[in-house]
């Protein structure tokens, strides 16, 4: 375990969190899914290095980790944009025009489902129900919700994120941080 601590690819805070998480369950591998989620939040996706370290921390094979991860669509093996736009197209949203919004976004960002913009700021994804049926249609950008949308409102939302990304760039932060 000491090697994982000293050579961890995660930040010291996350590394410490994982150390505690592993001890929390009667069976080590129970910590697998939360670990993958936290790791994805920090690194952006489940890279081979992430999978290797998680496997090592939980005494699993990399195959085990991959098999569990591939079951869940919210765990990904490829990077996404700085802002991952997830458009719900389940029944409530669909009835209230989710596909119009999705197509609008496709046109506006110039990318399709699972695509990433050339500057790496946005990625687009069509997803199942995100639990905002009462204010449909809705999208989720990273962990933030934007609901009761029209194409105009979507433009505002995107503009706000683009401006935010611009500020971050100006401050010299990396787009993927």
């Amino acid at each position: 375990m000491s090697s994982a601590e000293t050579m961890s690819i995660f930040s010291p805070a996350l590394s410490a969190r994982f150390d505690a998480l592993v001890l929390k369950y009667p069976v080590k591998r129970s910590a697998l899914i939360p670990m993958m989620l936290y790791a994805q939040d920090e690194v952006g996706y489940l890279s081979d290095a992430v999978i290797e370290e998680i496997a090592q921390r939980l005494d699993l094979t990399m195959l085990d980790v991959r098999n569990v991860a591939s079951y869940y669509s919210m765990l990904r093996f490829k990077p996404v944009g700085k802002y991952n736009v997830q458009v719900c197209t389940n029944i409530s949203c669909m009835l209230r025009g989710a596909y119009d919004i999705f197509e609008h976004l496709e046109e506006k960002l110039g990318i399709g489902h699972k695509g990433i913009t050339a500057d790496g700021v946005f990625s687009l994804e069509e997803v199942e129900c995100i639990g905002v049926c009462c204010w449909a249609p809705a999208i989720q950008v990273n962990y933030d919700f934007h609901d009761d949308l029209t194409n105009d409102k979507v433009d505002e939302v995107i503009a706000a994120y683009r401006a935010k990304a611009g500020r971050a760039d100006a401050k010299g932060e990396s787009a993927n941080a």
């Binding site: 094979t61 195959l63 085990d64 991959r66 098999n67 591939s70 079951y71 869940y72």
Partner: protein, 817 residues
């Protein structure tokens, strides 16, 4: 668990409480179909084929996870259940390709059987099939994704059974797929157990795929020719122009000592039989000094004339003692027995030996007089506690490793390991003791109570306490132990109650070679030549002077003191590093399946049959004796047994004295009690009047030899032992049983294809002699894909070996970073 009574389909059944319904039904002859259920592995309940109706339960229940309890009532076949199973099959067939006519599993496919049974051949699904190309995962394993029905058998077999964990399930729902650990390839032990477990044709083997159909082969159950575990392997055999070829090796009926298991060598390592390097014609060195193909008659004449001439020569360099004989580690017991009898009675020499890879003589000497102390391989599956000292079962004894893992998984067996280098079985061990390389003898002293013997080794005392606290113990030790070290270890164990022993050695019949007296100082059954006992009468002209060991024979040959060397299935020149040129003066005869280093310098080379091309018995390293049946056939070769008899005949020896065959030649052994099942009592018959009347009807040859075995069961059960041919190795078995104390065989079991344990405890204590030289032992240490000379000529194993090396390379580099 107490027995409970429950009702299935109106029948009252009784089984221990907690038994799985599917098992209870199978025992009672009620078959419940299942794809995912595999006895011995964890429960999956993934396929929904085993659904049954349980009274008072609203939904259909899976029989593979339902445990039986008092008073339950089940229905296993009804229109409702048939409909449910049919629907399941319809879903499975939704994306299953209809390629049964070309699929390897066609004819032995569980999905095919169920489709025929439930009639789900027609489907309402009209979706297009999602085709994927077949993938090659390793030189041994291919994966055809659309055929897979996601039963998880391979995943569990690989993980739980093999402790390799190379397979998993990736993705979800209809895109779920079996995934190998290397992404697009397998990094594993290449055992092929996943292929065996697969109920359909999703996993196929490189050696068999697209070659033939199951019903076009004859299936011959014989014993694997590779390691010392002696797994039963079923060879699929097909007729070809020059004999019969082996198309497949597998573990078809799972009835052998190995149960479910077979490793890469047993499953894929048979193509040496068809190797281009095979010797198929006798060769005799001509005047020009090169080996020239000749007829069998000529070759036999050359050998027998020359051996006779040397034996009868009165010169200084003549007589029987100037002939040396070296036998084989892979030949049958009968051949080895006959070889030493030929050497001792026809050639008149005790210069007989084999390349010893294991010190069985010392082991048996230590065990002599102590009955029920030698472990069978079967004991390793049930022993409550196992002490493994030295050895590396995972690499060198795959079946032993499988049994220990199974025992650990099913019975939580306690495994204690003492080893000088890490081994994989430590994962199952309760305690592991790391010994220095030279520390094995000290371990015995330490276990016996000498606290200072091991010096300062961590956990040594707790290890000893735990081992000593065991009420029964199975001690398995490796070739690190030889001579006196074996004696002291066995002595330590014999002082305790309920301790059994097993000694790990190489090769399919190394144990048999030692048991059959391929030794200059020991007769069959470890009787010293100095005090031959019954052999004095049986073997005319037996010398009581011990002969030369194999290295001594080679040295004597090099010095010109040995006029002839007769070598059967052995390559001593390579093994002992002898200078080939130095042996020029001796007349060297080599009988082998390949042109080995020794054969290359021989004066006569006789092409022999491999273990897959002959019948007889072999003894595994645990002393379990099994029947070998003839599977393949190769034009031009002869079994060692027949060659020997022909040479003896050519020398003018009385063949009837050498091989007890035909009228008036047999001393029929009394039928031993365990040979008979309780419900069958043989009618005693006047045997002499029947002797020599019946022929073997030709059934002892070729792929139909199973017929002869049933014939033999019938004969044996009636106390009849008819051997009408001098080439029938079982005639020698009669004599072995009569003369070798440890080979008291339960013939009914042996001929039925089961393993029969020999009892070294029957070796008379009076026969104990000074230990043989322990330095003669040359362990082979063959791994998962090597098997001495055979391995070098087996393409499948050579390929697997280089594949394993190529994929382990990057891992080693990554570790170095």
């Amino acid at each position: 668990m107490p027995d409970v009574t429950f009702t299935v389909d109106g029948k009252k059944l009784t089984a221990p409480a907690g038994t799985l319904l599917i098992e209870a039904c199978r025992k009672a002859g009620i078959e419940i179909p299942a794809f995912c259920y595999y006895p011995g592995l964890s429960l999956q309940a993934a396929c929904r084929m085993c659904v049954v109706r349980q009274e008072k339960v609203p939904k259909l229940q899976t029989a593979c996870t339902t445990t039986v309890a008092e008073g339950q009532v089940f229905t296993t076949e009804s229109p409702e259940i048939t409909q449910a199973r049919k629907a399941t099959i319809e879903l499975l067939l939704g994306n299953h390709p209809l390629d049964c006519p070309v699929c390897d599993a066609g004819g032995e496919c569980e999905l095919q059987d169920m489709t025929f049974r439930y009639g789900a051949g027609e489907s309402l699904y009209t979706e297009a099939k999602n085709h994927r190309e077949e993938q090659k995962w390793s030189p041994a394993v291919y994966f055809d994704r659309p055929r897979c029905i996601l039963c998880y058998r391979c995943v569990r077999m690989c993980g739980e059974g093999m402790d390799v964990w190379a397979l998993g399930i990736a993705n979800r729902g209809s895109s779920a797929i079996i995934a190998p650990n290397g992404g697009d390839h397998l990094d594993c032990e290449q055992c092929g157990m996943c292929i065996d477990a697969c109920p359909v044709g999703a996993l196929t083997s490189d050696t068999y795929r697209y070659k033939t159909r199951p019903w076009e082969m004859n299936h011959v159950s014989t014993v694997c020719t590779h390691c010392g575990d002696g797994c039963k392997v079923t060879l699929g055999v097909r007729q070809v122009d020059d004999g019969a070829e082996i198309v497949r090796g597998d573990n078809r009926d799972k009835s052998g000592i190995n149960g479910d298991f077979l490793c890469a060598k047993g499953r894929f390592g048979f193509d040496f039989v068809d190797s281009k390097d095979r010797l198929t014609k006798p060769l005799v060195r001509n005047a020009a000094g090169t080996l020239e193909p000749v007829t069998w008659e000529h070759a036999i004449r050359v050998v027998s004339n020359k051996l006779k001439e040397i034996r009868d020569s009165k010169t200084e360099n003549g007589g029987g003692s100037s002939i040396g004989v070296i036998g084989s580690n892979t030949g049958t017991n009968e051949e080895n027995y006959l070889l030493q009898k030929f050497a001792r009675t026809v050639l008149g020499t005790n210069n007989i030996d084999h390349i010893r890879t294991t010190d069985y003589a010392a082991f048996v000497r230590a065990m002599a007089g102590h009955e029920h102390r030698a472990a069978s391989l079967r004991d390793t599956e049930t022993a409550k506690a196992i002490l493994l000292i030295g050895g590396n079962p995972t690499e060198e004894h795959p079946l032993l490793a499988w049994n220990i893992r199974t025992n650990f998984r099913h019975n939580t067996a306690r495994l204690y390991i003492a080893t000088d280098s890490p081994i994989k079985l430590e994962r199952q061990a309760r305690q592991t003791l790391s010994l220095p390389v030279e520390g094995y003898e000290s371990l015995t002293a330490f276990l016996s109570g000498d606290d200072s013997a091991l010096g300062e080794i961590e956990n040594a005392k707790t290890f000893r306490e735990a081992v000593n606290a065991e009420e029964s113990l199975l001690v398995i030790f490796g070739q690190e132990f030889r001579g006196a070290a074996i004696e002291s270890l066995v002595k330590w164990g014999l002082a305790k109650e309920n301790v059994k022993f097993a000694y790990l050695g190489d090769y399919a019949n190394s144990r048999g070679a030692a048991d059959m007296g391929l030794s200059p100082d020991l007769l069959p059954g470890y009787i010293p030549v100095t005090t031959p006992g019954a052999f004095a009468e049986e073997y005319p002209n037996l010398s009581t002077q011990p002969g030369m060991t194999a290295p001594e024979m080679l040295d004597a040959g090099c010095r010109g003191e040995l006029a002839a060397l007769y070598i059967v299935g052995s390559d001593p020149v390579t093994a002992y590093g002898t200078d080939p040129a130095a042996l020029k003066r001796a007349f060297v005869v080599v009988q082998d399946i390949f042109l080995t280093g020794t054969a290359a310098l021989a004066d006569v080379v006789l092409p022999a049959a491999s273990l897959y091309e002959k019948a007889g018995t072999v003894t595994n390293t645990f002393g379990d004796i099994q029947l070998v049946k003839k599977a393949a056939d190769k034009a031009g070769v002869k079994p060692d047994f027949e060659i020997l008899v022909r040479i003896a005949g050519g020398m003018g020896a009385d063949v009837k004295k050498l091989v007890p065959f035909g009228r008036g030649s047999i001393t029929v052994p009394a039928v031993t009690a365990p040979a008979l099942s309780v419900d069958f009592v043989p009618t005693p018959r006047p045997i002499p009047s029947l002797r020599g009347i019946h022929g073997d009807l030709g059934q002892s040859r070729g792929a139909h030899s199973g017929e002869a075995d049933r014939h033999a069961v019938w004969l044996a059960a009636r106390g009849l032992e008819l051997r009408l041919s001098p080439f029938d190795p079982l005639a020698a078995l009669d004599e072995i049983e009569r003369l070798v104390p440890s080979y008291k065989l339960d013939r009914l079991n042996l001929f039925a294809g089961n393993d029969v344990h020999s009892e070294p405890g029957f070796v008379p204590v009076a026969s104990l002699t000074a230990p043989t030289a322990a330095e003669l032992i040359l362990p082979a240490h063959d791994g998962l894909f090597t098997s001495g000379v055979l391995g070098d000529h087996t393409k499948a194993l050579v390929e697997l070996n280089s594949y394993q090396e190529s994929i382990s390379q990057p891992v080693a580099e990554a570790a170095a970073d």
